[in-house]
C-alpha cells in the first residue's frame, strides 16, 4: 500500500492504518530501535509507542514520506529510552560511541556565545548533508542517524571497514569546519 493511502487511513481515523504501517514499516522501525537499544523487548515497546505517536500526530500532520516520519519517531523514542536507561551510568553501545565521536567533531564552544537554536542547527546539518557526495552522506547517516556500527555499514554498502572508518573521520572533520564557518554554536 502506498504511503499516501496509509496516511489517508489515519486521517479517516481507521485503525487499519496502524496495522498497515506496522506491516510496511514494522521491521524498519524495529531495526532502528534495536540498533540503539540492543534489546528486543525494549525495541518492540518502542515500535509500539511509535504507532501510538503516529496515530496521535496524523492528523493534523500529513507526511509525504511515512517511512521517514515513523523512522524519526522511532529514533527519538529509542534515544529517549536509551538515555533514561543509561542515566545512572554512562552506557555503551553504538549511541555512546557515536556521541563520543561527534563530541570531537564539534568546535569548542565560546562560553559567552548563545546556543544555536535547534531548528537552525538542523537546517545547517541539512546544508551540510547536501554538500556531501551521496556515498559519504549514506555512511554518515548510517552511523549517526541509524547508529550502525562501522562493520555493519561496511557490509551494507559493500565497502571495506577501514574505508568506512576513514570516511567517517574525514566527514566529522568536514562537519567541524562547516559548523565553524557557519558560526554554529552548540
Amino acid at each position: 500500500m502506498e504511503d499516501s493511502q496509509i496516511v489517508d487511513l489515519y486521517w479517516a481515523r481507521s485503525q487499519d492504518a496502524i496495522a498497515r504501517t506496522a506491516e510496511k514499516y514494522g521491521g524498519y522501525c524495529h531495526h532502528i530501535a534495536y540498533g540503539i537499544l540492543r534489546d528486543l523487548q525494549d525495541s518492540e515497546e518502542c515500535v509500539s509507542d511509535t504507532w501510538l505517536r503516529t496515530w496521535n500526530a496524523l492528523p493534523p500532520q500529513k507526511p509525504t514520506s511515512l517511512g521517514a516520519f515513523v523512522a524519526k519517531i522511532t529514533r527519538n523514542l529509542a534515544l529517549d529510552r536509551y538515555r533514561k536507561s543509561h542515566a545512572a551510568s554512562r552506557g555503551g553501545g553504538q549511541v555512546h560511541l557515536a556521541m563520543e565521536e561527534m563530541e570531537w567533531a564539534i568546535p569548542s564552544r565560546d562560553p559567552m556565545a548563545e546556543l544555536t537554536d535547534a531548528a537552525v542547527l538542523t537546517a545547517a546539518l541539512e546544508r551540510f548533508l547536501d554538500s556531501l557526495p551521496k556515498r559519504k552522506r549514506q555512511v554518515f547517516l548510517l552511523r549517526y542517524w541509524f547508529f550502525l556500527a562501522p562493520s555493519q555499514i561496511a557490509r551494507q554498502l559493500d565497502l571495506p571497514k577501514n574505508t568506512v572508518t576513514s570516511m567517517l573521520r574525514r566527514t566529522r572533520l568536514e562537519l567541524k569546519e562547516f559548523l565553524r564557518q557557519e558560526e554554529i554554536v552548540v
Binding site: G27, Y28, H31, I32, Y34, G35, R38, D39, L40, Q41, P63, T64, S65, G67, A68, F69, A71, K72, R75, N76, L79, S89, R90, G91, G92, G93, H96, A98, M99, E100, E101, M102, E103, A105, I106, R109, L115, A118, A119, L121, T122, L125, E126, L129, K134, R137, Q138, L141, L142, Y144, W145, F146, L148, A149, S151, Q152, R155, Q156, V186
Partner: protein, 337 residues
C-alpha cells in the same frame, strides 16, 4: 552534551535524506572461505575435521574421531585486544557481556567453535552462567523475548556441524528474530533433504564427539547421588558448579545443543528432570528433590505424570500455558496434555 544536540538535530533532518537508506537486516551468506578464514577459525575447524568444510551430501553426519581433542593452539590465536576492547562499561548484564563478547569475536572473524573453545577455557564461569540461564529460561521458547543471541548461538553451533561455520561469513550476530532463523535453517535443511526438527543426529554426534557419554553419565550419577543424599536441586547445581564446573558446563551445553525440552525425550530424561526441577524451584513450589529424597528413576513421561500429580495436590496446574509454555509444548509433543 554538545554531541547530543547535534545528534538530536540530525534526527530532525528532512526525510529525503533517508530515502535511499534502510539498514538491511543481516542475511546469512556464505563468504568465500579462502578469503576469510582466520588462523583461529582454521584451528577450530581442525577440531572437527576439514571434511566439514563441505556440506555432507547425504544424511550421514559423520563427524570424525570422537576422541579427537582440540589442538592446544586452537584458542590461543584469538587476538588479545578483542577482549580488552569489549571490557568497557557498555555491558550491563552477564548475558549482554557474553553476547557482546560473542558478537565481537564474530566481528573479529572467529568461528563459533573457536569462540566457544575460547570461552570454555578462558571464561568458563561466564559461559556456564550463560548456558544455565538459557537452560533455566526454558530454551527456545524464551529466546525470542531476548535478543535472539541464545537462539542464534544454538543455531550456529548446530548449523556449523553440518555446513561449516556461519559466523566467519556473517562477521556479526544478525539482528533477526529466532523465527526467521528457524525459517532459514528449515530451508537449508530441506534443501539437503533433512528435517529440521525431526531429529537431532547432529546434536547427538556433537555430544559424542565433544564430551562423550561419559561426562553426561558421570553427572547424572553425581546428580542422583547428591539427590539421594538429600541435596536440593539448587544445592546440587551449586555444588556441581563449584566442584565440577566443566562437567556441568558440558552437561548444560549438551542439553542446550539438543534443543532444550524437546530433546529430552531422546535421552534418559535426566536433563528434562533437572530442568523441570529447577523450574519448580523457581516457581516457588519448593524443591521437589528434598521432598522425595531421591531422584526418581524412569523416563520423562513417568516424571511428568508424577509431577503433575504432585503439583495438583499442591493446587498448581502443571500445564499452565501462561506460566510454562515450554511444558505445554512438551506435553503436546508427548500427547499427554
Amino acid at each position: 552534551m554538545r554531541a547530543k544536540r547535534v545528534l538530536d538535530a540530525l534526527g530532525d533532518v528532512d526525510g529525503r535524506f533517508l530515502a535511499d537508506l534502510r539498514p538491511a537486516p543481516a542475511e546469512p551468506k556464505k563468504r568465500k572461505w579462502p578469503l576469510i578464514l582466520t588462523a583461529a577459525a582454521m584451528a577450530a575447524l581442525c577440531i572437527f575435521g576439514i571434511s566439514r568444510l563441505n556440506p555432507p551430501a547425504t544424511k550421514d553426519l559423520s563427524v570424525g574421531n570422537p576422541t579427537e581433542q582440540p589442538p592446544a593452539d586452537a584458542v590461543q590465536t584469538i587476538p588479545e585486544g578483542v577482549f580488552q576492547m569489549m571490557a568497557g562499561p557498555l555491558i550491563d548484564s552477564p548475558e549482554r557481556y557474553l553476547d557482546a563478547k560473542f558478537e565481537e569475536l564474530a566481528v573479529a572473524g572467529l568461528s563459533t567453535n573457536g569462540t566457544l573453545d575460547y570461552l570454555r577455557i578462558h571464561e568458563p564461569e561466564f559461559l556456564l552462567n550463560y548456558l544455565m540461564r538459557n537452560f533455566m529460561a526454558g530454551g527456545l521458547e524464551t529466546c525470542q523475548w531476548h535478543d535472539g543471541s541464545a537462539a542464534w548461538l544454538r543455531f550456529q553451533m548446530w548449523y556449523s556441524m553440518l555446513e561449516g561455520d556461519l559466523i566467519p561469513s556473517e562477521t556479526e550476530t544478525p539482528l533477526l528474530y529466532w523465527q526467521e532463523w528457524t525459517g532459514h535453517a528449515r530451508n537449508i535443511f530441506n534443501r539437503n533433504g533433512w528435517e529440521f526438527m525431526a531429529d537431532r543426529p547432529v546434536s547427538q554426534q556433537y555430544l559424542e564427539l565433544r564430551y562423550g557419554d561419559v561426562s553426561k553419565e558421570t553427572l547424572d550419577d553425581m546428580y542422583r547421588k547428591l539427590a539421594a543424599a538429600g541435596k536440593t536441586t539448587n544445592e546440587t547445581l551449586e555444588l556441581l558448579k563449584d566442584e565440577v564446573p566443566y562437567v556441568l558446563l558440558d552437561y548444560l551445553m549438551a542439553d542446550f545443543m539438543e534443543g532444550g525440552l524437546e530433546g529430552c525425550q531422546l535421552n534418559d530424561g535426566s536433563a528434562g528432570t533437572l530442568k523441570w526441577q529447577t523450574w519448580c524451584s523457581l516457581k516457588g513450589i519448593g524443591d521437589l528433590i528434598e521432598n522425595v529424597v531421591e531422584t526418581p528413576q524412569g523416563d520423562w513421561l513417568d516424571w511428568s505424570q508424577w509431577a503433575e500429580k504432585l503439583l495438583r495436590l499442591n493446587g498448581i496446574d502443571f500445564f499452565d500455558e501462561e506460566t510454562s509454555p515450554a511444558t505445554v509444548r512438551y506435553a503436546h509433543l508427548l500427547g499427554i496434555s
